[in-house]
Symmetry: C2
Subunit: 449 residues, 2 copies
């Protein structure tokens, strides 16, 4: 049914089965972590009205994929629809639509594909999976949630074969108050320039700030603030040493200190106060997060988010929220693409049940049914070929065990062979069990060079 020429579409990532097993492992760990932390899953439809998508998310307007029924009549009355480009805009709409039926504060996680029409490049896709958690409340949102978000992510990342990582935290009130305190008036413009620090370096940032109207001393102060980092609350004294006074600055310092203190208590060294982090999106109003893999800082942030005082609003009620989003496809595109993480096999099957002859296939099926009933994933050989060929079927897929049902005329019963080492033992399908690490494919880091 498919004769047309087949070519990949740039920006759309698809894994081979082994890569998909890596992805499933990551998804399973992330989901389990979100759930033990008490977040409830929701899924929203892939489409939103274009008018709801447009104007949201800063620069992404131009990246929206429109969706239209090819057979729709020209004079359609249906609203123009577009694919969502993040999970925050649909979540905000879901909260408004279902506010009367949800229990607040509402803690939800959402793991779905999103689409952006931007130019594809390494680690950037037009279709990608995001894993989001958010807490949203009515009117007011307790500050302690801002400390909990990065700890949930740290809990997930610590269980994944991605090596050491750091979650950088800042509070938008700190630079905003600081800039006011030194007499700058274009706060948003200053944030945008300082946000380029890692890309263009301090000299060019200073030039850009002065071009935007700052004095040399103001530019120096902005760079001094952006240079402050600490794994504990010592960043507070470093900021105070710059001698700038502003009520918003003080509030931001207190809030960020609380986040860093909570992080330090649970997982020392993972959360870092890093006062250059600003996040591009305008709607963050408090804590903001970014996440780097240590040793792969040039890959950028894999997990970002922050607090917004108005995640959603229906005009009467405002819903503040705080959230964080793991960019899973970005992370996996690099880790799997570069061969840094691999799966031990390309199928869930732990056992291949061999077939003595096509007449005896039902005996092999019965063995498989017994093993499956006990939770052991298995496959049955597709043909009663020579055992050497059946074993190669298992080897090609990385299946560790081959089960040999007793031949009808044989005195010997069933046996099972670990084809990695060649050890073969007598076995009964009702009692045999492999070590737990063989039950599911193992996903592990490969030491790079």
């Amino acid at each position: 049914m498919s004769n047309a020429k087949v070519t990949p579409i740039s920006g759309f990532l698809e894994f081979l089965p082994e890569g998909r097993i890596v992805e499933q492992h990551f998804l399973d760990v992330i989901r389990r972590t979100f759930e033990v932390h008490g977040f409830a899953s929701i899924e929203t439809r892939a489409v939103e009205p274009v008018e709801r998508l447009a104007g949201k998310g800063g620069d992404v307007d131009k990246e929206i994929y429109g969706v239209v029924r090819l057979s729709a009549p020209a004079e359609t009355t249906e609203a123009a629809l577009g694919l969502h480009f993040d999970l925050t805009v649909p979540f905000a709409r879901y909260v408004l639509e279902n506010a009367g039926k949800l229990a607040f504060p509402f803690k939800r996680y959402q793991i779905q594909k999103v689409w952006r029409g931007e130019r594809p490049q390494e680690g950037r896709y037009r279709e990608f999976t995001q894993c989001d958690i958010d807490v949203v409340d009515v009117g007011q949102l307790a500050a302690h949630f801002e400390a909990e978000m990065p700890l949930v992510v740290a809990d997930a990342f610590a269980q994944l074969p991605i090596g050491p990582f750091r979650i950088q935290v800042n509070n938008r009130k700190i630079p905003e108050g600081f800039y006011r305190g030194i007499g700058l008036t274009d706060i948003a413009g200053t944030l945008r320039i300082v946000d380029k620090l890692d890309k263009i370096g301090p000299e060019k940032v200073a030039v850009a700030l002065e071009e935007a109207g700052a004095t040399a001393e103001q530019a120096r102060q902005c760079l001094a603030l952006a240079g402050i980092q600490s794994q504990d609350e010592s960043f507070v004294d470093k900021v105070r040493a710059l001698g700038v006074h502003d009520p918003g600055l003080e509030q931001g310092l207190a809030e960020l200190a609380a986040v860093v203190r909570a992080g330090h208590a649970v997982r020392p060294g993972v959360l870092v106060a890093d006062l250059k982090i600003a996040r591009g999106l305008d709607y963050y109003t408090g804590t903001v997060y970014e996440t780097q893999l240590i040793g792969h800082e040039d890959w950028g942030s894999f997990c970002s988010g922050g607090r917004y005082d108005a995640l959603a609003s229906d005009g009467r009620t405002t819903y503040p929220g705080v959230g964080i989003s793991i960019g899973l496809s970005r992370l996996l595109g690099l880790l799997v693409g570069k061969g840094l993480v691999t799966a031990s096999r390309s199928t869930p099957a732990a056992v291949l049940v061999a077939v003595n002859s096509e007449e005896e296939r039902s005996a092999s099926m019965a063995v498989a049914a017994t093993l499956r009933g006990r939770g052991i994933p298995c496959d049955v050989a597709p043909s009663a070929a020579k055992f050497g060929k059946q074993i190669r079927y298992a080897q090609r897929r990385g299946i560790p065990y081959v089960w040999f049902p007793a031949a009808p005329a044989s005195e010997r019963g069933d046996s099972v062979k670990d084809i990695r080492c060649g050890t073969q033992v007598d076995a009964t399908a009702t009692t045999w069990m492999c070590p737990p690490e063989d039950l599911v494919p193992q996903v592990t880091a490969v030491s790079g060079d």
Copy 2:
């Protein structure tokens, strides 16, 4: 950030958190079943070139959603893209694209959303989730796979709270050979008319057949064949009693008998040979499947599929396949929508850890961290309100247990209360465990009227 008026979009199903927990349970059972049967997961991108989608899948051409970058230049050189309307067309393309890297026979499962622009109605959506398994091989595909597909589905359905079901099986070679044997020439046209039997009844089918050129006797024979059903191989004798001879008919009878025999051996009564089943799609060439919930036959088929001799072809190599697809959204839209299946709570949390005072929040967080480390999903009270209010937080979400950390000045240690019955016991976070059925939300059938 979201002030525009919020209205649902017809045909796009979204669940509240409790309904989503039902959906997750179904997805988990289906995935686990596919995996113990040795199927490997793949996911394909949401979009395919429109030219690949168009002309596939019979009548669904007109239902394709086109996708276009809203900011694309008018004279774009990019291929026209559309959202996939099933998982078979993308799978066939994936097989061709990765043929050199896959191990054949390739057993894959795929659980993804698909989109069709058709008119929404009860149980029919414009965005819905399908759960597919297929086996595809190079050149030839062993017949035993045709018996295994429905058994995998039966294994999954037997673990779900959907009540009794029947999988109806037929083989396209039977009606095709039979129609040839009685002298009809428009085989496809006859199939299409007989396929309407359940909708329009035998009299109207007879009229339509005669209008299409059949004699009254030929129409009577077609209806006689379509009326044959059996849970065992007895359908073969019933067909032979009609006195029609054709080599294709004989081959179809032998193949269907093998499928029914294998099904009867493993799960008696679930597989039913039902000779009126034809499936609309033209590309099926052997066994075809449909599935009904017993007592809800009017809901239609929730799980359908069949064998195709040319699932994919690149002109040189042909890939035959057999597959079956669970229409999960259709099933859940009805079961959840009618309140026939519910979840015991609206959050994964089994425990709410109470907070004595905001100063002691870190003690509650420590209890939660210990419980989470032991796999017990829990939430921490959002505020140190009166315990009555904290308990109501748990009740509203269906969380069964509330944990009370020891107050600093108290001699009594931690305790945990089952708020369903009021029983409160002393407990230690390092050792306490709830019954396994409380660890995850329970998803159960509600007896309807």
